[in-house]
Each structure stands twice: as C-alpha cells, then as structure tokens.
C-alpha cells in the first residue's frame, strides 16, 4: 500500500509509452484483472496517464493501447466541448459497468484505429465502479454525455472490442484523421 504523498508522486511520474495500433492481438484479447496495490500496476497506471497527457487531444486510454493486457483505464474529458459530467483526470483498475441508460448514437474514433470513425450507439448515463491504483480503494464514477461515451469506449478495449465492432452499418463508417498511433 502506498501513502498518499508517495502515491501522488508515483502517479505523476509515469513514462509515456508507445501507442499500439490495430491490428494487434493485445487489442482483441480480453484484458486480465489486476491487483490495484501491486507496484507494477501502479507504475502502469502512471504510464497510462503520462501517455494520455502526451497524446494531444486524447480523452481516454486503456492499458491494451499501451501494450498491457490489464484492466486499467484512464480518462480526462475536461477539455472536450461536449462534456457535461467531468470527473477530471482519473485512472481506474478493474472497472466494471454497473448501470447504463439512455442510449444515443454518435460518431467516435480511436487512437489505435487511425483513419476511420464510426457511428456507435452508447449509453449516455452510466455508473462505473473500480479500484484506485495504489490504495485499492473502491471508486465509483457517475458519468453522462461525452464522459460516459469515453468510459464505455475504454471498457470495450478491456474486453478486446473495438468501436468497429459496434458500428451501426455500412453508412456509419467514415473517414477520420490519420494520426496518432505510433505503429
């Protein structure tokens, strides 16, 4: 277990990692649960945050996107114009969706799938529970609108699912920015 100051220090000192692009097995494999107080997991959470911060307009990342088949995600939608709820920057271990309602369709893309976007139907009100890396304390996030979409996108990554697996039809696929992923 980490003390608060030590934990903040560790989470702030992550190293930006290379983003993994599809096709890659780690992006289509269900990620494994982690021990949230394991120092290796805390270091990975810090790296996830560092990678997200480095990646320009990135609003969320899942551990498989940095090559780790672990159930870790990070989110920060504070800079997005369609954000309503905003939990700020956070990282969560072993997240699970416990409630979801009010589905809406919207276009989304992925740093691991550059060059293509798609219309995906997702819940606009969700509750997610997980654990805080380092302390292992339970964490609950209630999210709506864009934050809810972003979290569900990351949860899909932890299940080896890409947004492409949810697009609503051939006319729901669009050209997107060819940028971001490092491979």
């Amino acid at each position: 277990m980490f003390g608060t100051a030590q934990l903040l220090g560790v989470l702030a000192s992550g190293v930006s990692r290379q983003l993994i692009g599809a096709p890659h097995p780690v992006l289509t494999t269900r990620a494994l649960p982690v021990d949230p107080v394991d120092p290796g997991v805390v270091a990975a959470a810090a790296d996830l945050l560092a990678t997200m911060r480095r990646s320009g307009h990135c609003m969320g990342l899942a551990a498989p996107q940095i090559g780790l088949g672990w159930r870790l995600l990070s989110v920060d939608v504070s800079r997005h114009p369609r954000t309503r709820s905003c939990a700020g920057e956070f990282v969560m271990a072993n997240p699970r969706l416990v409630s979801a309602s009010r589905w809406e369709r919207a276009r989304e893309g992925c740093l691991s799938v550059p060059g293509i976007t798609g219309d995906v139907s997702r819940a606009t009100r969700i509750t997610v529970r997980g654990e805080h890396p380092g302390s292992g304390a339970p964490v609950t996030v209630h999210a709506d609108a864009f934050e809810a979409r972003c979290i569900q996108h990351q949860l899909d990554h932890l299940d080896g699912v890409l947004f492409l697996d949810h697009v609503t039809g051939t006319r729901s696929v669009h050209h997107g920015a060819r940028e971001r992923c490092d491979r």
């Binding site: 692009g21 289509t28 060059g115 293509i116 798609g118 139907s121 890409l162 492409l164 729901s172 696929v173």
Partner: protein, 163 residues
C-alpha cells in the same frame, strides 16, 4: 414510367455531383434512389432514375452505363437485418471468405464498405438473412473463417430505430 439503373464514374472534383445531377434535371429525369462515394480520387454514383435517360455524351469526362431496371426486384427488404464487422491484418481473401459463408447461409449483402487503414483491413457489411436461416451456425462459420484469416468478426442484429 420506366426505371433505369445508371452508373457514373469519373475523377472526383468539386461540383461533380451538381454537374451530373443537373444533366438528369435538364432531361426531365427523376433520381429516385442513389448512392455515391469517393474512392481513391474517383467518384462513383449509382442511380435509379425514372423518365428519359440522358445519353452518355451528356456527361463529358465520365464513364456512364445505363440498364433497364424493373421495380420490386430488390431483395434487400426481405429477411432479417444484421451488421457484420471484420477487422484484422490486410490479406487477400477476407471479403470472399466472409461473403461465401453468408451466401451459404442464404444471406444477401445489401451494402458493404471496406477500408485499409495502414496495416488494418476493415470490412463492414449490411446483411439480410432469411427468417429460417440458422444464425448460430452462420456465426460459428464466420468465426471459423475469421480465425483462419486472423480476423475478428462480429455479426449482430441491425438496429432499427423506428420512432
């Protein structure tokens, strides 16, 4: 009124849709259904047009074909709608393998988009399966075809948001 199926192919440039459709207007033809896309710097249009069909010479610089089309010959409205996604490393045979499984299940592909994004090949298809089709068996065969090609395949009911 007669119905014609027309294809128009040419170089993509600003104003090409207005240019092509104005020809139909000039000839008094009515565009009923149409689809248009840009591919690799080319524009491709397919139109179902009623009324007088303009001659190919009315579309300078474009390749135009026209054929008589009957009404009610489409099969896209029969059966149950599904959406298929296949994605994985680019390799030959993905579309033919997937479409072969769907055909064997009695399915019809009513729309398809494929994209190559770097090393990633993506195929999205709108599919109709007859009500009596064994969907579970079709999904097993799709999964097997995908595994053989290193592809992930999802096959799910199409959403119908009738309000």
């Amino acid at each position: 009124m007669g119905l014609s199926a027309i294809t128009v192919l040419g170089a993509a440039r600003p104003g090409v849709v207005a240019e092509v459709t104005s020809v139909f207007t000039r000839y008094g033809a009515n565009i009923e259904d149409s689809a248009m896309t840009l591919l690799g710097g080319h524009v491709a249009m397919m139109l179902l047009v009623s009324g007088r069909v303009p001659p190919a010479s009315a579309f300078p610089g474009m390749t135009v074909t026209a054929a008589e089309a009957g009404r009610g010959h489409g099969c896209e409205q029969s059966g149950l709608g599904y959406v298929l996604t296949a994605h994985g490393p680019d390799r030959p045979g993905i579309v033919s393998a997937v479409s072969g499984v769907l055909t064997a299940a009695g399915g019809v592909i009513t729309g398809m988009t494929t994209r190559l994004c770097g090393a990633l090949y993506v195929m999205i298809a709108d599919v109709r399966l007859p009500p009596e089709a064994d969907v579970a068996e079709a999904m097993r065969r799709l999964a097997a075809a995908g595994a053989g090609l290193g592809c992930e395949i999802t096959f799910r009911p199409a959403e119908a948001e009738v309000l």
